[in-house]
Structures are given as structure tokens and as C-alpha cells.
């Protein structure tokens, strides 16, 4: 291990810390969850309405998710790796649950700026 290595590692860790802070400082609570399949919008749900919904695709693939107490969680899926089911529940703006094999993304949207829009309207 050389001295240069330590500088490099310290630099990388500092970079990660700054990146983390930048990404999370502006975090705000969301109001809706948008379901996209293959990048195309499929359906939008309100976070304050508890529900269990199954997304069914033409090729037979499916994902079941739950909205409870404002949090979204993937319950079951037909994908082989089941990574999406292991995701933690999401609640904040721009948080996502992704199922890459089924190309399904659940994404939280609509924080404070949308409330202001609603008042303006």
C-alpha cells in the first residue's frame, strides 16, 4: 500500500459523501406513485389510499405491490431474481423500486412543488 493509495481512497470517500449529501439534502415527501413499464407511464396511484395492485403485462409477467400508510412496497413478482421484492419500502420524492427483468419501475412523485401548483390552480 502506497501513500498515494490513501490519498486516492480518501478522495473517493469524500466524493461519495458529497454525492450522498447532494442527493439527499433536497429529499421531500411524495404524494403519488407512478408505475412505468419499459419507460412508458402505465398508471398513477395516490399514496394516501391504501391498496394492493398487480401489474400484468402482455407477455405474462406480473408484479404485485402494496400502498400502506403512505409507503410503497413490492410484495411479489414473476421475475427470476426477485430483487424488486427485496427493495425497502419507498416514501420520499424520486425514490424508486425497480424490477429490471420486467422493466417495471415504481417511482414516488409529487412533493411540495405540486401542492403549490394545486393551490395556484
Amino acid at each position: 500500500m502506497k501513500k498515494n493509495d490513501l490519498y486516492l481512497i480518501a478522495g473517493i470517500l469524500l466524493f461519495i459523501l458529497i454525492l450522498y449529501l447532494l442527493l439527499h439534502v433536497f429529499k421531500s415527501e411524495g404524494s403519488r406513485v407512478v408505475v412505468t413499464i419499459d419507460g412508458k407511464e402505465y398508471k398513477t396511484f395516490l399514496l394516501n389510499e391504501d391498496t394492493v395492485f398487480t401489474i400484468r403485462q402482455e407477455d405474462g409477467q406480473w408484479n404485485t405491490f402494496e400502498i400502506k400508510d403512505g409507503y410503497v412496497k413490492m410484495l411479489e413478482a414473476s421475475c427470476p431474481d426477485k430483487l424488486c421484492v427485496k427493495f425497502n419500502k419507498i416514501h420520499y420524492n424520486d425514490e424508486t423500486i425497480t424490477c429490471l427483468p420486467n422493466r417495471v419501475v415504481l417511482r414516488i412523485v409529487g412533493g411540495e412543488e405540486n401542492d403549490i401548483d394545486a393551490i395556484a390552480n
Partner: protein, 163 residues
């Protein structure tokens, strides 16, 4: 290419292949694809230092192709190639600088592998918010890269004679 080289490449590819298999048997408690030890990268980095960067590149690509069709879904090939290509490129550059040890080179390999994968993932599912996972993936890349680099540094001196 003489027979010694042919058998050596075969051996190294088989080793990287088996490492990937072993790794696929270890369940990961994390939900993020890309958080793993990267045992196969041990073979790649040893080939890089012990044989040459071009040979390490071929080894890495052949391994990804084999593993993609056997233990993983072929749809993940794109991610693996992106990660493998970017990390090979960055490791080669850092190695040629001769300013850093194998541990630093391996760490750079680990994090650029994750960066490459997440860039492709963002484009593939058209979802820029995947960038939120980058800090976690990078931490994972630093830890696993350091471990692999340490193992590599311990192994390479003992292997120098036969490579």
C-alpha cells in the same frame, strides 16, 4: 500462441467462471444488483499484472459472456459488459501511471464497474432517479475493490513464476 499459454488462459477463464458461480450461490441481503464481492475480478486483476492488460480484457469479456448465459439472465449482459469495459479501461490507465498499488487499482475497478452498470441501467429503464443508489454502490465498490486488491497483491507474487 503456444500450448502453455492456451492452457493458462483456459485455466484462468475456468477459475473466473467458477468464482462467478460461487458468488451466485451467496445470497445477498441487499436489494441492489451490483453489490457483491466481485471474486471473478481477482482473476482479471491478476491477469492484468501477471500477463498483460489485453489478455485481462479478453478474459474479462469471455467470462461475462459465459456467466451471462449460464448463471444469470442474458438481459443482464449489457450491464455486465458496460461495467467490465469501464472498469478495465480505468484500471489499465491507473496501472500504467505506476503511481498506485494493486489495492487502489482494484478499488477504481470496483467503483467504475458499478458506475458503468448504473449508467446503462439509467438509460435502459429510462429512469434517472436510479442515481440515488450510486453512493451505496460506490461504497460497496470501495470495500469489495479493496478486499480483491489485497487478495490480488498477496497472490500475485506467489504466481509470478508460472504466469
Amino acid at each position: 500462441m503456444n500450448s502453455k499459454k492456451i492452457s493458462l488462459y483456459g485455466l484462468l477463464i475456468a477459475l473466473a467462471f467458477i468464482f462467478s458461480y460461487i458468488e451466485s450461490l451467496i445470497p445477498m441481503p441487499f436489494a441492489l444488483p451490483g453489490i457483491k464481492l466481485g471474486l471473478a475480478n481477482l482473476v482479471v486483476i491478476i491477469a492484468m499484472y501477471g500477463i498483460g492488460v489485453k489478455e485481462a480484457f479478453v478474459l474479462s469479456m469471455v467470462r461475462i459472456l459465459l456467466v451471462g448465459f449460464t448463471f444469470r439472465d442474458p438481459s443482464t449482459l449489457l450491464f455486465s459488459f458496460a461495467g467490465g469495459l469501464l472498469s478495465w479501461l480505468c484500471m489499465t490507465l491507473l496501472m500504467k501511471l505506476k503511481m498506485f498499488s494493486m489495492i487502489a487499482v482494484s478499488i477504481i475497478g470496483g467503483i467504475t464497474h458499478n458506475i458503468g452498470q448504473i449508467i446503462v441501467a439509467i438509460i435502459y429503464v429510462n429512469n434517472p432517479s436510479l442515481i440515488y443508489y450510486l453512493p451505496f454502490l460506490l461504497i460497496s465498490g470501495v470495500v469489495s475493490g479493496a478486499l480483491i486488491g489485497l487478495l490480488g497483491a498477496l497472490t500475485i507474487n506467489r504466481l509470478k513464476k508460472i504466469l
